[in-house]
Structure formats: structure tokens, C-alpha cells
């Protein structure tokens, strides 16, 4: 039996110490690279979400354990058959242009606009029978079948609620309002000086008392990684979101006085670094050879040296931050002897193994060098292929690799971000984002399909545990690291990272100690 899930506005009040926050102040945040647009739901770039996550909101937010929290919805209920999701909306919410926000906006934004503009949400909406608004402050999602991950899609980047009165009946992608976004969020768009900064100001009419706390926010566009680090050192910017400086600079910056850092705020995306191993041909087609690779790699060394101790060695296709992770699987430690044993069992004949690095800068290049060295030491004859971004895309799309580095987001649920890499129905030339390794296992296919629509979390956990055990034994890909991109900020800035998407929607609660 499943209990009704309810949450109330009280959670917010209880979660934060009352009246301890100082109001006022300006925050400068690095933005890298400059986003093409701020229209969440129409463009999916990470920098878009960094800025627009404070302009637009969705029905829910997620804490760092991925538990749903109130946002535009102050409470919600899931029926016992897991088919009806009922959301109660805040009643005094206004759009930034003063129009009242109602359930009609939600129905329009999700059913009409986002269904057309956001392919990632569209996949989840296939399980939805109808979206209705019984009254101005209630929205009901009726599902065709139970779909466990559904509670995880009400996130601002996946399902931003956009204003009906501006978009209805227009060409969404070319609406002139896209340049001056109108949302319900804690900050309003003020100015975008291209190549320089994006300026947001406090939303005085925000529906939560006293919030937001900051007066204004500048997103500063600084194209060069070294200059970004210097800008932070000079005090020109207060926040370096994850990934905005080279890893080697992170260490130096966090050792400065008055500088704090956190690896939290990536739980929803849970970037999972892995290396595709070509399951079709070459030495990597052999399961024992792939196991040899797993045992040969010193992933802890990579975490400690290349990633400065940030992150966690990945033990399964599912990140330990994602729901339904299990550690009840084979564990591959760094063990050269076992690697050599497995290599002997695979009948490896010294054929050259090509490693395709991820061309995203020095960190990844060093990582490929370290892997090559690890493989060489157990007797695998490997070379690192030189590549650029286009070449990397091309080689993976054409399956022209033996081992290829990549990292993928998990979106909180295996059905949203994990199964896509292992389903045999998802093998298709031409994309580096599907089952690139070419892993085929009908049993796993069936379990993934079943798990996505299983009615209860317990049933899903059981299936996902079996899936993980099977996959970890088959090692279709080499799981490397659960990456954490540390957010670096001045310690006066408080409550900056409180959700599973971190700085992306963190400014609602953030404040500066005066």
C-alpha cells in the first residue's frame, strides 16, 4: 500500500531558520558560455538554465536528496493507483508584468507550448492522458499508466511554466517577448548587454514573504577560463558555478581566505562519466576484456589527482545520487592481477585499442592519458586518438572507436537518464547520445521497460537492482566517476546551493551576510 504523498507550505518555513536572513546586496555570478536565449523550455543549454532558473519556475523544486519541494505548487497529491497527480497552486502569484498567474497558465504551458518545444518533456508526456484545471488554483495530471519518474519532471529546466497571456496563439519560437522573458520567479529580467552581462533585479511582488533577499544579480560573461579565475580572485565576481574554471585552478581558489565551495547542487543531473566500450567488434567485444579494463583503471587516483578529490568512483550505471541506485553489485577495484587474469581469459592478442578522449579541455586529456597508462601496465596495447569536438561526435556516431570517453546526465531517475544508454531499441547510428556501445540484452530491455511503468517504488527498486547487477556483470561501458563540478563562492553568500540543481534555481533562498 502506498500512502498519499502530501507536502505543505510549512516545509519551506520549517526548512529554513526564520528571520535569520539579511536582505539586500548584489551578487555577481560567472556565466559561461553566453547563452543563445533565456527562454527555458525552448532552448536546453546549461547557461540558459543558470540564468532563467531564477526568472521562471515550475510546479516543484527538488532538494539535494531529490525529494520534491513546493515551488509554484504549494501542495500535491498522488492517487493510490499512481495515475492522478493533483497540484494546489499558490494563490497570490503574479507574472512579472503584473498579470495574475492561474492554473490555465500551467495547462497551456505544459500541454500546448512545451509539448511542442521541449522534446525531453514530450517523452514523459506520452504517459499522460489529460491535463486539466478544475479551478483557478488546481491542476490535475491524469496518466494512462503508472509512470514512476513522473514526479521528477516538474523541474524548472524540464517544465518551466510560461505565461499564457503572452504566448497563446503566437509563434512560440519567434515571439518578440522571448527577448524580455516574463516569469513568476524571484528575479525579473532587466537588461542583457551582449558579450558583457545579464542583469536581473528583485521581484518585489514575489509570493513568499520577505523573499528573495538580494536586490540585484549580474551574470557576467567572461570568455576565458583563466580570466574567470582572476575575476574571482579580484573580487569582481562572487560565484563561480560548477565547471567555469579549470580543475587545476579550483584547488588554488578554494584555498583562498573567505572562499567556500560545495560539490552539491548536481544531484538532479548527476553527471556520470563513463567510457563506451565497443560491444560489436575488436577486443572490447569480449566481456572478459571489458572486465579487465575495469580492474586495470585506477579511478580513485583520477578522482584525487585530476578532479582534486571532487566526485565519487562510479560503481554502477545508476549514479548513487539518482533514485534506485544499489551498491549490491560486483565492485571493480583497481587490481592489476585480476585485470591480467581477465585479459588472459579473453584471449587478447595484443591488438591495438584506440582511446577516444573527450575534447573538453586539459582535464579530460589528462584523464585519457592516465587510462592509457593504466591499460598499458596490465598489457593492453592502447593509443590515444587526437580529436576535436566535431571529430568526437563523428567517431561516436559512426561507432568508429574502441573506448570513448563521455559523460551523461541522469535526471534523477533511471527511466529518464540511464536506460537510454543500454536499451537495444536505442541503438542507432548518427548520435553520440544513445546506446553507442551497442549493448544488446533482451532481458535487460524487458526489465527496463517494466521498471519505467511499475506501480510502486518497491517494485521499481527490485527491477532496477536486478538491472544494475546484470549490467555491472556485463560491463557494456566502463563507468568512471560520478562527477561533481564544485561551486566556488564567497562565504558571505549563504544558502546558495539548497536544491538538486544548485545555482540554477538557488537564488530564491540565497542571501548575503551584511
Amino acid at each position: 500500500m502506498r500512502n498519499l504523498v502530501t507536502a505543505s507550505l510549512l516545509t519551506v518555513a520549517m526548512g529554513l531558520p526564520a528571520a535569520a536572513q539579511d536582505s539586500g546586496g548584489r551578487l555577481d555570478i560567472v556565466l559561461q558560455p553566453e547563452p543563445p536565449s533565456l527562454m527555458l523550455g525552448m532552448v536546453q543549454n546549461a547557461p540558459t538554465q543558470l540564468v532563467a532558473g531564477d526568472i521562471f519556475e515550475s510546479l516543484l523544486r527538488y532538494d539535494t536528496d531529490l525529494n520534491p519541494q513546493p515551488s509554484l505548487a504549494k501542495s500535491w497529491e498522488i492517487s493510490e493507483d499512481a495515475l492522478t497527480y493533483t497540484f494546489k497552486l499558490h494563490e497570490d502569484v503574479k507574472w512579472h508584468d503584473g498579470e495574475p498567474f492561474t492554473s490555465a497558465d500551467v495547462v497551456f504551458a505544459v500541454d500546448k507550448l512545451l509539448r511542442e518545444t521541449n522534446p525531453r518533456l514530450r517523452v514523459s508526456l506520452e504517459h499522460v492522458e489529460s491535463i486539466t484545471a478544475p479551478d483557478d488554483h488546481t491542476v490535475v495530471f491524469q496518466l494512462k499508466n503508472p509512470f514512476g519518474p513522473f514526479i521528477g519532471v516538474f523541474e524548472a529546466g524540464t517544465m518551466p511554466i510560461l505565461p499564457k497571456h503572452i504566448y497563446e496563439g503566437t509563434d512560440y519560437l519567434n515571439n518578440p517577448a522571448n527577448n524580455t522573458p516574463i516569469g513568476t520567479g524571484p528575479y525579473k529580467f532587466n537588461e542583457w548587454e551582449k558579450g558583457n552581462y545579464i542583469h536581473l533585479v528583485k521581484n518585489e511582488d514575489y509570493y513568499l514573504d520577505d523573499q528573495p533577499y538580494l536586490d540585484e544579480v549580474y551574470y557576467r560573461i567572461i570568455p576565458d577560463a583563466a580570466s574567470r579565475a582572476v575575476a574571482f580572485e579580484n573580487g569582481e565576481v562572487d560565484v563561480l558555478p560548477g565547471g567555469s574554471v579549470e580543475n587545476w585552478d579550483v584547488k588554488r581558489l578554494v584555498e583562498m581566505d573567505g572562499v567556500c565551495s560545495t560539490g552539491k547542487g548536481w544531484e538532479y543531473f548527476a553527471p556520470h562519466a563513463m567510457a563506451w566500450m565497443n560491444n560489436r567488434e575488436g577486443p572490447t567485444a569480449d566481456k572478459n576484456f571489458r572486465k579487465a579494463v575495469m580492474y586495470a583503471m585506477d579511478r580513485e587516483f583520477v578522482r584525487d589527482v585530476i578532479w582534486n578529490g571532487f566526485g565519487k568512483v562510479a560503481t554502477s550505471p545508476v549514479s548513487s545520487k539518482t533514485n534506485f541506485y544499489t551498491d549490491d553489485t560486483i565492485m571493480y577495484d583497481h587490481n592489476a592481477e585480476k585485470a591480467e587474469e581477465m585479459l588472459a581469459a579473453s584471449g587478447y592478442d595484443g591488438e591495438e585499442v584506440r582511446i577516444l578522449p573527450l575534447p573538453y579541455g586539459e582535464t579530460w586529456q589528462r584523464w585519457a592519458e592516465a587510462m592509457k597508462q593504466n591499460l598499458d601496465e596490465v598489457g593492453i596495447n592502447s593509443t590515444v586518438v587526437a580529436t576535436d569536438v566535431a571529430g568526437w561526435n563523428q567517431k561516436q556516431s559512426d561507432w568508429d572507436f574502441d573506448i570513448a570517453f563521455t559523460y551523461l546526465y541522469q535526471y534523477g531517475d533511471p527511466a529518464l537518464g540511464v536506460s537510454r544508454s543500454y536499451l537495444s531499441s536505442n541503438i542507432e547510428k548518427g548520435s553520440p547520445w544513445n546506446n553507442v556501445a551497442g549493448y544488446v540484452n533482451e532481458e535487460v530491455d524487458a526489465m527496463f521497460d517494466e521498471a519505467a511503468v511499475a506501480a510502486t517504488p518497491e517494485a521499481r527498486q527490485e527491477l532496477y537492482t536486478k538491472i544494475q547487477q546484470q549490467l555491472v556483470d556485463d560491463v557494456p561501458v566502463a563507468w568512471l566517476l560520478e562527477i561533481e563540478f564544485p561551486t566556488i563562492y564567497r562565504c558571505e553568500v549563504k544558502d546558495l546551493v539548497t536544491t538538486a540543481i544548485g545555482v540554477n534555481d538557488g537564488l530564491r533562498d540565497a542571501w548575503i551576510e551584511q
Partner: protein
């Protein structure tokens, strides 16, 4: 020969250059004996400064690889690329320039327009394009450097041959009934050798610099430890570990300087009449 050595050793800079180069060559030749392990091997804690740990005189790099091992193995790469690419450039440039200068007329025009075509494109830009198209491996990098380096050789050889072919000994050879090719290769070119040798020594230096620059930009062979790669990989940590870029930088500086000094010494030794007065 003794005469040549005497004149060469009169130039003190050249002798120092020769000593440095011999040291580098010895290191390169005996690299597998001095550091039998791969220079990519991660052997100690990363970021050890020089002279801080026994056995690692130059410290370790970002992944804990021995900098000294990298330096010694990198010398092999730099020297091989420098020598082979110069040799290839000479093989292209010398015959082209010689034919152009010796036969003149349409052959000269054609050859020189072709040379100018290459000269109008900046060396380094062309090298980057070639390496990017061909995929960076040691042979393609060497080839790319050779392709951008031969035009000056062709022009020099042409000028030399142009002036030599009017000399009396050429007329004499012609009267003796020698064929054109015997005159060119047997009599004209040998007399043009000394400027070519001087130029070649400088070309080796330029080639080493070019290879380093390409590696620095990440266009090196990713499986080969070279000095340029070491600097390129260390540039992101230059604030916290300056020695990682400094040490291979000094190695490049010394080697290139040595080759330049030797070039000058060779010039003095091979063209005694041009030797600067007042020394």
C-alpha cells in the same frame, strides 16, 4: 678537415653550442637506458617541486609523471622531428631550386611561382591546417613541418646556382662535353653546399620550435611525450607549478640556441672569406 675544425673552433659561441647539442644528442640516444620506463608512467605524488624528492631531480607533473624522464624522452622527439623534417625539406627544396636556377626560362618561372604560392601562406598557419587535416601523428607532423619549410631552401639554392652557372669552370665543363645533369650535380651543387648546410642547421632549430608550438596547442601526437606537449599540459597550472612549463622551456631554448650558434660557426668555417673581420 682539420682546417675546417680549426676555423669552427675559433668561434667560441659555436663550440659552446656544439657542446650543448652533443649533450642533448647523448641524452636522446641513451634515453631508454637512463629512464627505461615510459615517460607517461605515473610514479610519484603529483606536483613535486624540483630537488625535493630523491630520484626525481626535476619533480613530477600534474599526474605524477617524472619530469626528468619526460625531458629526456622529449629530446628524442624534438631531435627526430627537427632532423627528419629538415631532410625532407632539403629533398624538396634543393632539386627544385637547382633546376630553376640552372635551366631558367619557363622552368624557373613555374618553379618560382609554385614556391611563392607556399611563401604567401604564413608557415605556422599552414602547418596547423595540415596537421589538423592529416590527424596529428609523428609522421604527419614531420611532413607538415617539412612542407612549410622548403620554400626558402629552394630560393637560396636557385640564387646560388644562378650565380655559379655563369662561372668559368662551368663553361669549361660544358666544353669538355659533360651533360647538363653532370654539370649541375657534379660541379655546381657541391659549390653551393656551404650556404645550404648553414641554412639546414638553422632549419632544424625552426622545426623544433614548430613541433613544440604545435604540441603546445594540443596538435601534437597524443601518444608521444615532447617538450611542447609538456609546456602545453602545464600551462593551466603555471600559477601553482611554474617549473613544469619552465624546465621544458629551457630545454627548447638551449637546443634552439645551440643550433643557431652552430649555424653561425659553420658559416664562419665554410665561408672563411665572409668571416666577420675584427674578431
Amino acid at each position: 678537415m682539420m682546417d675546417f675544425l680549426k676555423r669552427f673552433s675559433r668561434n667560441r659561441g659555436a663550440v659552446i653550442g656544439a657542446l650543448i647539442l652533443i649533450t642533448v644528442i647523448l641524452l636522446a640516444v641513451f634515453a631508454p637506458l637512463i629512464y627505461p620506463d615510459s615517460p607517461w608512467k605515473m610514479v610519484q605524488r603529483p606536483f613535486l617541486p624540483p630537488f625535493s624528492t630523491e630520484g626525481f631531480p626535476l619533480g613530477t607533473d600534474t599526474l605524477g609523471r617524472d619530469v626528468a624522464a619526460g625531458l629526456v624522452h622529449g629530446a628524442r622527439v624534438s631531435l627526430i622531428v627537427g632532423l627528419v623534417s629538415t631532410l625532407v625539406a632539403l629533398l624538396i627544396g634543393v632539386p627544385l631550386g637547382a633546376f630553376a636556377g640552372f635551366y631558367g626560362g619557363l622552368i624557373d618561372d613555374g618553379a618560382m611561382r609554385f614556391t611563392e604560392f607556399f611563401q604567401t601562406i604564413p608557415n605556422f598557419a599552414l602547418a596547423i591546417v595540415l596537421v589538423a587535416i592529416l590527424e596529428p601523428t609523428l609522421p604527419t607532423i614531420t611532413l607538415a613541418i617539412a612542407i612549410v619549410s622548403w620554400p626558402p631552401v629552394a630560393r637560396l639554392v636557385r640564387a646560388e646556382v644562378l650565380s655559379l652557372r655563369k662561372r668559368e669552370f662551368v663553361d669549361a665543363a660544358r666544353l669538355a662535353g659533360l651533360s647538363n645533369s653532370r654539370i649541375l650535380f657534379g660541379h655546381v651543387l657541391p659549390n653551393a653546399m656551404s650556404p645550404i648546410i648553414v641554412m639546414a642547421s638553422l632549419m632544424v632549430a625552426t622545426a623544433i620550435l614548430l613541433e613544440s608550438s604545435l604540441s603546445f596547442l594540443g596538435l601534437g601526437d597524443p601518444n608521444i611525450m615532447s617538450w611542447g606537449y609538456m609546456i602545453g599540459a602545464a600551462r593551466t597550472v603555471i600559477r601553482s607549478a611554474w617549473w613544469l612549463s619552465f624546465i621544458p622551456g629551457v630545454a627548447i631554448l638551449l637546443t634552439v640556441l645551440a643550433l643557431n650558434l652552430i649555424g653561425e660557426g659553420l658559416n664562419d668555417a665554410l665561408n672563411p672569406r665572409l668571416a666577420r673581420k675584427g674578431r
